[in-house]
Every structure is written in C-alpha cells, then in structure tokens.
C-alpha cells in the first residue's frame, strides 16, 4: 500500500455548523426570539428532517404489511364479502386533501414570517388552526363512517373485509391523531417564538404523507373490499 500523509479533514461546507454545533443546523432555523430576527438559540436543531423520513418509512412498512395481509387473506378463502364503502369517506377524503392545502399555505406564511416579511407578521398561526380543525373534522368523519357501517350490521368480526376496513382506517386515524399532536406542537412553539423551521417542515411532510396514505387506502379499499 502506498504511504500517504494525512491531510486536514475535508468537510462538506453545507454541513459545517457555524458555531461548532453538532448536526446540520445553522442560522435561519428559528422563529425570531426576543424581537431579534434570525436569532438562533445556543444549540443546533435536532435532525428532524432526517427523522421524519425514517418515521414515514416505518409507517409505510406497517401499511405494506397490512396490505399484503389483505391480499393474501382475500386470495386464500371463499368467505370474503364485498360491501359498499360509506359515502362519507369521499367527503372525508376531500377534507383531508383540503387540510394539506391549508397547511401548505400555513407553512409558507410561517416561513415568510420567519424571514421577517411584515405582511405576514400578524397571527401566522391562523392557517395552522384551520388545518388542525380540518384534521379533527376528518377524524370525526371517520367516526361517522364507522357508525354507518355499524348501522348496516358490519362489525369488526363480521367478515374479513370489514375487519380490514376497521383495521386500516383506525390505524390511519391513530397516525392522523399523531399528526394533530404535531400541529399542536408547532402552534405552541410558534406562539412562544421558538419554532424551528425543521419542525415545521417535518410536520408538514408527515401531514401530506397522511393525505397520500389515505388516498392509497381509499384506492385499496375501493378495489379490494
């Protein structure tokens, strides 16, 4: 092997923190604190931008497992009974997609607020509240869908098709509730001028993913149930 002399470390400049912080943080990640724009706190932000992809991957694997279970279960027996999806699900789909739109508006407004654009300085959390309300409305709509199925005599154990309907929709709602918790966290941090941009972006990604996941589930339920 060739003899070499070590050179000083070569670092990707984009990842070098300015104050010797760990991680990939830096300036511009914080909502103004104490009235001083672009003021950063004493530590780099947690790497939530990576973490959210890890979380979404785990959620994807979980629903992939449920999907494969549905496909195998349907294909392995003769007891599968199809049923018509409750119509309110289509309205719920619209509500969830609309919440993604309002969240995107909120994210842009908060981002502009963080950059110090004065036109967005007043109550940047307004659209976050709207998104949160739409999310809650979606959860309520899902509950109505379950009651409608129950009224038809379709319970969790009635048929494998209804079993999968409840399992998939309830699991999705549990994840949506997690997203609602994330939105509350963002609103709270924003009100304290301590919101990190990464937290806002991660929450938005998660929420949009919930919308995409629901579209996928709707297609799955529509084709398979």
């Amino acid at each position: 092997m060739a003899t070499t002399i070590h050179e000083p470390p070569r670092i990707d400049q984009d990842r070098l923190p300015e104050k010797g912080h760990t991680g990939n943080g830096g300036r511009g990640n914080f909502v103004p604190s104490g009235g001083e724009l672009r003021e950063t706190l004493d530590y780099s932000p947690p790497p939530s931008s990576t973490a959210i992809w890890v979380v979404l991957f785990a959620v994807t694997m979980m629903f992939a497992a449920f999907t494969s279970a549905l496909v195998v279960r349907k294909g392995s027996s003769q007891d599968w009974q199809s049923f018509t999806l409750p119509p309110i699900l289509y309205l719920n789909t619209l509500i969830l997609l609309l919440s993604s739109v309002t969240l995107e508006v909120a994210r842009r407004r908060v981002s502009a607020f963080m950059r110090g654009v004065k036109s967005h300085a007043e109550n940047p959390a307004r659209w976050l509240y709207v998104t949160w309300a739409l999310g809650l409305l979606f959860v309520a709509g899902q509950y109505v869908a379950w009651t409608q199925l129950r009224a038809q005599g379709l319970y969790l154990a009635t048929n494998p098709s209804s079993s999968f309907f409840y399992v998939l929709t309830v699991t999705h709602v549990v994840h949506v509730l997690g997203g609602l918790g994330g939105l509350l966290y963002v609103i709270r941090k924003l009100s304290k001028s301590a919101l990190r941009r990464n937290a806002m972006v991660a929450t938005a990604r998660y929420w949009h993913f919930m919308g995409g996941l629901w579209l996928y589930l709707m297609l799955l339920l529509w084709f398979k149930l």
Binding site: G20, T22, S44, V54, A65, A69, S77, A157, V167, T171
Partner: protein, 594 residues
C-alpha cells in the same frame, strides 16, 4: 494533543435528582446501561429456563426443586409436564432472542457508544430514547407476567405459529391469556425498537462531528447503523402482525384461523383465515432478526480485533459493504424457514437461491477477519479471546446453514436438533460472545474500572469449550433423527441417544455455572475493580479520547475534530504505535481508506 475546537453545546441540563439521573434519564449512556442491566437479568432468566429444560430432557422424572412453586399445575411435585416444558421452551426462546440478543449488542452498547463514536453529545431525540428503553422494559415485564397467569405462559414457541396462536385456550395451556400477553409484549417491544432505530439512524447521519465522514466511522458504529435500518423495516412489519393476532383473540376476527378448524374436538367459530399469512409476516421479521442479533457482534468484534491486532482489517470498506449486503439479503431469504410449510416448491427454490447467496458476504466477513489476523501479533485478553470465539462460533454454526439452505435436506432436518444446534451456534452463542467481548472491552469506559482479566479468561475457556460440548452434539442428534420440541424421548430409536442428552445437560450446567463467574466479575469490578485509565487498550476511536467514565456531555463541553480513520495502528507517533482519530498529528501511515 487533541484539538477541541467547539464550545459547550449540550442541549439539556444534567439532572440532579436520583429519579431523573438514574431512572428516567435522558442520557444515552445511562439508557445504554439500563438496556445492559435488563439484558443481563433476562439472560439469567433464559439460562435458568434452559437448565430446567435440560435437566428434564436428561432425567425425565427428576423433580426440580422449587419449580412447583412457579407453577403447581405445570410442574406438580417439581416434575414438569410436557406442556410446561413447551411453555418454558417458548419463554427461553422469546427472552433470549428479543430481550438479550437484540437489546444487549444493539441497544445497550449502541446507546452508550454510538453517540460518542460519532462525536455527538447525545442522541438527537433523548425523550424518544428514554421511551424506547421504558417501553422495552414494560414489554419484558408483560412477558414475564405470563408466568403468573392461571395457565402459565404460551407454549407455541418463539415463532408462535398460527393457528395455535389465535384460537385461545382450546389449543392448550397458555394459549389464551399467555398468547395475548406474549403478543402485547412483542408489540411493545417493536415500538421500543422503532424508537431506538429512529435515534440510531439520525445520530449516525446527522450528528457526526467535524471531520467524521461515513468511512471514518468505526466498524461498530457502522454495524449499529446497519442494524437500526434492519430493525426499522423488520419491527414495523411484526407490529401489525401482532395486532392482527390480538384481534383474532379478543375481537373474534379470522385473520389466521382457517374455516372448519377442529381443535380438541371443538369446531372453532372462525372462518377462512390463512395460517401461512402469519408465517410470511413473522419470518419477514424473523430472518432479519437473526442479523439484527449478529451484525452488531460482527462490528463489535471487528473493532476489538483491530485494536488488539494493532492493524486494520484487510478492507474496512468491503467489510462494511458485506454487512450491508447481509442486511439487504436477509429480507430475501426469509422463506427458507417455511420449506416445510407446504409452500409451492418453486417458491422454495426462489428462497433457496438467495439463502445460498447470503453466505457470500458472510464468508467475506469471516475471511477478512481471519486473514487480517494472519501474521498479526494479537494482544491476548478477555475481549480478544471472545472476539476469536465469536468467529469460531459464527463459522461452525454457519457451515451447517449450507445444508439447511437446500430444501430437500432441510425437509429432513428441519424438525430435528440439527436446526437447534445450527441457530444456537450461529445466532445465539456467537452473538453472546460478541456481547461478552464488548463487555470486557468497553467495561472500563462504562464503569470507570477494569475487569479482572484472569476471571475473564477462565470465563472464556469454560464458555468456549462448553458451548462446543453443548451444541455440536445437537447436530449429531439431528442427523440421528432426534425430533426437537419433545419433552421426553420414549420412542425406542431415541433411547440410545439419551446418554448424549445427559452429556449435553452436564455440559450446560457447567457452562452455565461459568457464566456466574462473569456476573461475579462484572459486579465485583464495578465496585472494587482497579480504576481504569482513559485509554486502557490504546484505541483510536473517539470513545478513548474522552474521560473515563465519559462526562455528562461526553466530551467535557468541547467537541473533538476528527483527522483520521479509526484504524491508524502500526505507525510511529508521539504516543506510541497509533494515532487517535481526534489527534491532529500528521504521521506517515500505510493505511488510508476514505
């Protein structure tokens, strides 16, 4: 000597109260120790169960003192019933696979050392990290609680095959509440490990200190990173599988129970479920789980061998790629556990091919380790001995895997002790040796005191020889047709094999007793061992750059800067034959791999 250029940046203040400092701690080092302590208790429980099983197998009618207190119905007069044997076997497998082999090499050592090895002050999500341990600990308690329900723990084996796992107590003792507790425990365990994987991945990718490129990570850090990626995929699939089983139990669904199933003369009210579905979901987790247990061991012993050989591996890069290949291929081979399930023979062929292919990266890893050892002046100590033992067990157990990879042979051997010998050596003992090696190597840094080397070597030789005495005969038993999972061997053709079982039992008792030497060494050294210097093994990676034991923020308020690979040995520097990663000293080296 070290360039500490950064300022104090720890993002949560050190706790002062006992509860927040030692119980609900956010410090990754405390959490790592908590995982280790839990794994140690679990290992002792698992070993005690194996002792009882071995005594019963060798002397069927022997009363085991105290066993009737644990279960008056399962062991009347101290003699275990066949059902109770299966219950103990199930708990032994579950405890060892989940709460020892997964938690100790990955969660325990990884939690303590991964942030330090990458140069971080903590994991990025300390609260999730704390939750990870306490959810896992709750899972352990839930599992152990099944010993104390009316009909005891489940008897379905650690694989919990359907439909026995989903029909309730009609399938036997423990199949009601015992299964529900088992599934709840494992579901909680999955959540805990997912939280842990989240932290491990983000720590590795985002918290590396200045100068720490990916290729400058120690092999142990790489192993934990790869393992966390595997865990993220595997546990995210096992979790929904457990949920579906619980629903079959408590909600009357029929995911896994076929229609017309009659059990103990009862027609079960389920319809149309698929038993194979459980096997697919379980083994999609189950085979990667084998590598979740063993890959950290590969990384740990490689790290230890490099330090003690005073030279790098032949190729760090190839070793890393091989561990990655093991991780990816582990998802493509899971069907080899189902050769006897009645699956399509073409499917068996499809799963057989990657099963043989996966031996290639495994062989490359072993060859790199062995040829790196060739000609080296290895420093012999307890850690390096157990590292050598790891390679020995991994090879010995892995060779029998070649046979089992072929469906035609596996069908003959699958239900026999041959498989028991195979997986105990390649997954169980090898991983345990990785844990022991890591303990002897890192104990000084974790506890601030040295372990007793003489006791460590006694522990090694009894464990090494004992493990071969126990598990090699299993292969012979399997080839002789000795069926596994039987609690007694009453058939004529099995009678001549009973002396072999007695030999194994005696070996197991002696080898198990040797583990008590380790426990004594661990506890005694923790309080009365000689104070450990900061770098007792003359290592190069960042854990040896900081104080012993490491301060609250790992580096005393100033983060290191990394200038070198972690395997700069065999050089002439101001401190000896090595250059630490955090040393700016420039020396002529023969090794550079970026």
């Amino acid at each position: 000597m070290h360039d500490m250029s950064a300022q104090a940046v720890h993002h949560h203040a050190p706790p002062t109260s006992f509860i927040w400092k030692h119980v609900f701690s956010l410090d990754h080092k405390v959490i790592g120790k908590q995982y280790y302590a839990m794994a140690l208790v679990a290992a002792l429980c698992g070993m005690a169960l194996s002792w009882m099983m071995r005594i019963h197998l060798a002397w069927t009618n022997a009363a085991i003192p105290g066993l009737q207190l644990l279960s008056p119905n399962g062991a009347p007069g101290g003699v275990m019933t066949p059902e109770y044997y299966l219950q103990l076997m199930t708990m032994h497998g579950t405890i060892m696979v989940f709460f020892v082999l997964t938690t100790a090499p990955f969660a325990a050592f990884g939690n303590f050392f991964l942030p330090i090895q990458v140069g971080a002050e903590d994991m990025p999500f300390p609260r999730f990290n704390m939750m990870s341990f306490w959810v896992t600990f709750t899972a352990f308690l839930v599992l152990m609680a099944s010993f104390f329900v009316s009909d005891g723990p489940t008897l379905g084996g650690w694989t919990q095959y359907a439909p026995l796992n989903a029909v309730g107590s009609v399938a036997g003792p423990g199949q009601g509440m015992g299964v529900i507790l088992w599934m709840t425990s494992i579901a909680l365990f999955c959540i805990g490990q997912l939280l842990g994987s989240l932290n491990f991945i983000t720590t590795t990718l985002d918290l590396r200190v200045k100068g720490m490129s990916l290729m400058r990570l120690p092999l142990s850090a790489w192993a934990w990173f790869i393992t966390s990626c595997m865990g993220l995929t595997a546990f995210a699939v096992l979790l929904p599988a457990c949920i579906l089983v619980i629903l079959d139990h408590v909600a009357g669904t029929s995911f896994f129970v076929p229609s017309g199933t009659v059990m103990n003369d009862q027609l079960l009210p389920h319809s149309g479920g698929s038993t194979l579905l459980w096997q697919h979901l379980f083994w999609f987790f189950g085979h990667p789980e084998v590598y979740i247990a063993i890959v950290p061991g590969i990384g740990i012993v490689s790290h230890i061998l490099i330090t003690n050989m005073r030279r790098p591996m032949l190729s760090q890069r190839v070793l890393i790629y091989s561990m990655g290949a093991l991780a990816i291929l582990s998802y493509m081979v899971y069907g080899h556990h189902m050769f006897v399930s009645g699956m399509n023979p073409i499917s068996s062929l499809v799963f057989s091919f990657p099963t043989l292919v996966i031996t290639i990266p495994a062989t490359i890893i072993v060859l790199i380790q062995v040829f790196s050892l060739y000609g080296s002046k290895l420093r012999i100590n307890s850690a390096s001995l157990f590292a050598l033992g790891f390679i020995s067990m991994f090879v010995s157990g892995g060779v029998s895997g070649f046979f089992l990879a072929q469906p035609s042979i596996d069908i003959m051997l699958h239900g026999t002790y041959f498989v028991v010998g195979h997986f105990h050596m390649v997954m169980g003992v090898a991983a345990m040796f990785g844990i022991f090696a890591g303990t002897y190597f890192w104990f000084p840094k974790m506890a601030g005191r040295m372990m007793n080397e003489t006791l460590g070597k006694i522990h090694f030789w009894f464990s090494f020889v004992g493990a071969y005495c126990i598990f090699m005969p299993f292969h012979y038993l399997g080839m002789a047709g000795n069926v596994r999972r039987y609690s007694t061997f009453v058939d004529d053709y099995l009678q001549p094999l009973i002396p072999v079982h007695r030999w194994i039992t005696v070996a197991a008792l002696i080898t198990g007793a040797a583990q008590l030497v380790f426990v004594y060494n661990l506890i005694h050294s923790r309080f009365w061992g000689a104070p450990a210097p900061d770098n007792p093994w003359e290592g190069t990676s960042l854990e040896w750059s900081t104080a012993t034991p490491p301060p609250w923020d790992n580096f005393g308020g100033k983060l290191p800067v990394v200038y070198h690979d972690p395997f700069q040995y065999g050089v002439k520097s101001s401190v000896g034959d090595y250059v630490m990663q955090a040393s700016p000293e420039q020396v002529a080296t023969e090794h550079e791999e970026k």
